[in-house]
């Protein structure tokens, strides 16, 4: 099969070449097509490693069509006609493709998909095309194209583009683009300007800038390589620092391995090599006079090997002293690739300056992340703060109410395609759905169990697994998309270090709103008053004319409803699956317990503490997020030892027991 394909490929190629030649003879094809035909093989192969000459040929052709060809190529609009191997710009029209000649810009007919081959440059090739296009696009009348050119330059620049960029700054009418060009000019100067003074000036100008691009330009300047010299290093090298073998930067083994690599010292005999050497020299059941049976002892192996070495059969066994002597005789030094020490000094100074700022900003970013995670935990836990914290009901199905909210959001989005409208509809609807579910659960199950908290746990857990399975039966186990509206997409970027996505900000705001709402309901409304009364003493409350059943029902419904809204928010930033709720349930209980049951400020503090703790541990151990979660839970367990009633403990009668 592959053979056939390959053969067909060559046939097409052959046909293409001969046809091209024939066509040229008749002057039937334009000059651009001729260039493309010459490069047809690499264009079709479309590999970054080999495409260079083809792009250069088009870009350097001096033809006015070059820009158009490169742009079409980059946008995957270039197609090859199978029959004659000619390249065209093709636009889809139903099932057919309309072909346009690159040279004349005239339509040359149409073709079906089977007769055409699309040239699909991969992202590496597209980047090269982008760089080749920079010259053409820097002064393009279309601002979008000029922006494209700058983006390409930011990704991949070279020394030749510095001059065109400088020339393009003054004519730039757009202030934003002009600023970008100026900044890019500084960066390219640092990298490519032959004049050392200009480079240092540019480095100083960019010192203290937080952009990743600045560091990306400066860091290669101060990149070092470790080199080893027999004796003193030659003059004129830009040495960063000398290293002593056995220090933390250069362990002894690594240093010696470098010597071996550089052929400056004989290799050490590794245990495996030693064993193989011994195996190769077994004579009459013994090696070097040591019986084979004894060779399971490493010391005996050394003895046997030394005997072999003494007989000259194997390379000598190196002693530690010999290694030390070899290391002593050499100098290890880190060398800058950049020859000028003035430039590296300036770059180092700038980087030190930047790294302090970066550190501060990273701390700020981590703080924002922690705040965001804390607000997510708070949002997940606030419903629980009502049902568990105020009413004392353990609701293991709380997570499933969150899940129901998220699925409500998903269903609404299926019905209402407009994302903004659907979210606006979904939030109250999710509240309504979970409020109803909460009320139903309270009436049917929980009210019979108010005096049996442990059994409430069991019963609500039963409901939890039933609801989870029900969600699986209805929606399947596949995660469902819940897409945030476009205005919540993207991130608020303060600088290249500090940024936070809008959706997280929205969740933060939502958490604040709920905090206010909770405080308002509990402190300012009749329901809140009655809830507090019923919680403290149901009998007395009933005697005062409050209907405890009704109050409990409404309070529980409220807590569940808030969980539903939290579900929409969490679904927006993460995923909607039937296991969504169980991911948050333990954390939510932790939040409430750590914060102190019965106090919303405690829950808030608890959420913030857990959030920042988790982010802190993640920061200390960035390669293992799972460890962060483990240690966070262990910390909470220990924390509860010292404050069993949480951060903010209720005192006196309100404590209830």
């Amino acid at each position: 099969m592959r053979g056939i394909m390959l053969k067909r490929f060559f046939l097409v190629l052959l046909a293409a070449i001969s046809l091209a030649a024939a066509a040229r003879a008749q002057d039937g094809i334009g000059p651009m097509q001729a260039i493309l035909q010459e490069q047809a093989e690499v264009i079709v192969k479309s590999s970054r490693t080999s495409i260079g000459p083809a792009i250069d040929a088009v870009a350097a052709s001096g033809l006015p069509q070059a820009q158009g060809v490169l742009e079409a190529w980059q946008a995957k609009d270039m197609w090859q006609r199978q029959a004659d191997g000619l390249f065209f710009r093709a636009t889809q029209d139903g099932d057919r493709y309309l072909l346009t000649d690159f040279d004349t810009g005239a339509p040359v007919g149409e073709a079906g998909k089977a007769d055409l081959r699309q040239i699909k440059p991969n992202s590496g090739v597209r980047a090269l095309l982008g760089t080749a296009l920079v010259r053409f696009q820097l002064l393009d009348p279309d601002p979008a194209r000029r922006a494209d050119a700058l983006t390409s330059l930011e990704r991949d620049a070279n020394a030749d583009l510095l001059a065109p960029l400088r020339a393009a700054i003054d004519p730039e009418p757009d202030a934003g683009l002009k600023a970008r060009k100026q900044r890019l000019e500084r960066l390219l100067t640092i990298s490519y300007d032959p004049d050392q003074a200009a480079r240092i000036a540019a480095i100083d100008a960019m010192s203290g800038d937080l952009g990743v691009d600045v560091r990306a330009v400066l860091n290669p300047l101060v990149a070092t390589t470790l080199r080893v010299f027999p004796g003193t290093p030659p003059e004129g090298l830009n040495i960063a620092k000398r290293l002593r073998p056995g220090s933390a930067d250069l362990p002894r083994e690594a240093a010696y391995d470098m010597l071996v690599q550089a052929d400056l010292a004989p290799p050490r005999v590794s245990p495996a090599a030693l064993r193989d050497a011994l195996a190769a020299h077994i004579r009459n059941g013994a090696v070097g006079g040591v019986p084979v049976a004894q060779l399971s002892d490493p010391d005996r192996r050394t003895v046997a090997y030394t005997a072999l070495a003494a007989a000259g059969l194997v390379p000598p066994y190196l002693t530690e002293d010999q290694i030390d002597a070899a290391l002593e005789a050499h100098v290890f030094a880190m060398l800058y690739a950049e020859p000028s020490s003035a430039v590296t000094d300036a770059a180092n100074a700038a980087l030190t300056n930047i790294s302090m700022k970066v550190g501060l900003n990273q701390a700020l970013d981590l703080g924002l992340d922690a705040l965001s995670l804390g607000s997510i935990y708070f949002l997940a836990a606030i419903g629980l703060a009502i049902t568990f914290g105020v009413m004392g009901v353990i609701n293991m199905a709380h997570g499933e109410f969150i899940m129901m909210g998220a699925y409500t959001g998903y269903v609404v989005q299926q019905v209402i395609p407009n994302h903004t409208v659907s979210i606006i509809v979904a939030i109250p609807l999710a509240f309504a759905v979970t409020f109803a579910a909460g009320v139903a659960m309270e009436r049917l199950v929980i009210r019979w169990l108010y005096n049996r908290p442990l059994e409430t746990l069991l019963a609500t857990f039963g409901i939890s697994i039933a609801l989870q399975q029900l969600a699986k039966n209805i929606f399947g186990t596949q995660a469902r998309p819940l897409t945030s509206p476009d205005w919540l997409g993207g991130a608020w970027v303060l600088n290249d270090v500090v940024s936070i996505s809008y959706i997280r900000i929205a969740i933060f705001v939502l958490a604040l709103i709920f905090l206010a709402l909770f405080l308002f309901i509990m402190k300012r409304t009749r329901l809140g008053l009655e809830t507090r009364a019923v919680t403290q003493n149901p009998g007395m409350a009933a005697a005062m004319g409050i209907n405890p059943g009704r109050v409990n029902m409404l309070t529980f419904g409220l807590g569940s409803g808030i969980a539903g809204i939290a579900g929409v928010a969490i679904g927006l930033f993460a995923k909607v699956t039937s296991e969504l709720g169980s991911d948050y349930i333990v954390q939510s209980f932790m939040t409430v317990v750590v914060g102190g049951v019965g106090n919303i400020w405690g829950t808030l503090l608890g959420a913030l503490m857990i959030g920042s703790l988790q982010k802190g541990i993640e920061f200390l151990n960035p390669s293992n997020t799972l460890a962060a979660q483990t240690y966070m839970i262990i910390f909470i367990i220990i924390f509860i030892q010292f404050r069993p009633r949480g951060i903010i403990a209720l005192r006196g009668r309100a404590a209830g027991d």
């Binding site: 290249d496 995923k575 920061f619 979660q629």
Partner: protein, 427 residues
Amino acid sequence: MKSIKTALAGTAAAIAMSSAAMAADCPIKVGVLHSLSGTMAISETTLKDTMLMLIDQQNKKGGLLGCDLEAVVVDPASDWPLFAEKARELLTVHNVDVIFGNWTSVSRKSVLPVIEELNGLLFYPVQYEGEESSKNVFYTGAAPNQQAIPAVDYFLDELGVEKFALLGTDYVYPRTTNNILESYLQQKGIAADDIFVNYTPFGHSDWSKIVADVVALGADGKKVGVISTINGDANIGFYKELAAAGVSADDIPVVAFSVGEEELSGLDTSNLVGHLAAWNYFMSADTPANAEFIETWHAFIGDDTRVTNDPMEAHYIGFNMWVNAATEAGTTDVDAVRENMWGQEFPNLTGGTAVMGVNHHLSKPVLIGEIMADGQFDIISQTAEVPGDAWTDYLPESAVLESDWKDLQCGMYNTQTKTCVQIKSNY
């Protein structure tokens, strides 16, 4: 207590009866061991349906060896010990001739001892971490050198990536794959400092810090690429955060080994266009065989929107190879079939021919696709067939190992000491 005893007695009797009825040779039984409930049901149910479709097709063609094929479907419920129990049940109670099943590596490890003890035959259809070759298992999914290594080569050669972030879910496939990749990258001259590794739990959703870390990797002026072995649902949060942070595929490309058509259907892919995935099969492959396969699948499942994916193709190839091997052997006896499996050829859905090697791994082409806005992949690179390598060449311990069940009759042969380390697997 009494009721339990009667229940037990009843079950025992039922089991006894069913094993007595098992004596006849027809129909030929095909065990399907995929989770239909629990966390893995999401992926595995599709494979169960694929098997039912393939068996159905084969029966329409006249069955096998003059017998009808009968599927025996059991549900190990994403519970790893249950996989072993169900495998034993399939082999001893239902007397199946072959088993198609498993998704996760841990479930395969759970089943291995049972299959080897009872000399069963298992076809395992999912891309996995390698470092295994069992006498009784045929691996129709990709080994690391058929997915991960070519994808990294693509990053190095085609995208010019100089700095790698290996992000994975914390379980064995990402761990082993990343280990192999780290070693491979260092052999390719990437410094250890330029490889950032991170593991997250299953279903992780808080990706902001990790994405920020990855972006910050670009600070030393090297092009950054992400190799993702993130599993399942966690991808959704990851890609959402990536899109929110404005990371475009042109700046920081992400290649995923566990994200296929099925996973993308849970996502709005418009922000992910250009990110990559590496598989041996994409639904968008433009061949007649694939078009027919998709059509049959849609007809069987009764839903034109269902996607096809790589493990489905693996089952398609594996099942057809088994049918051909059994036909050639004239029996479904495990040892006879196994010998006929070696060198067995079958056309891929993506073009070319898959060949089953003596190490029980397939030769398959490696495809790299860019995510498109419609949730499909645009295939931008397709290699020739790569033979699957049971023991990777890029880790020192396993570079000396070789698997050859035909001549060496050993799945873990040490080429240095010229000895067979073990015949049975050490799970």
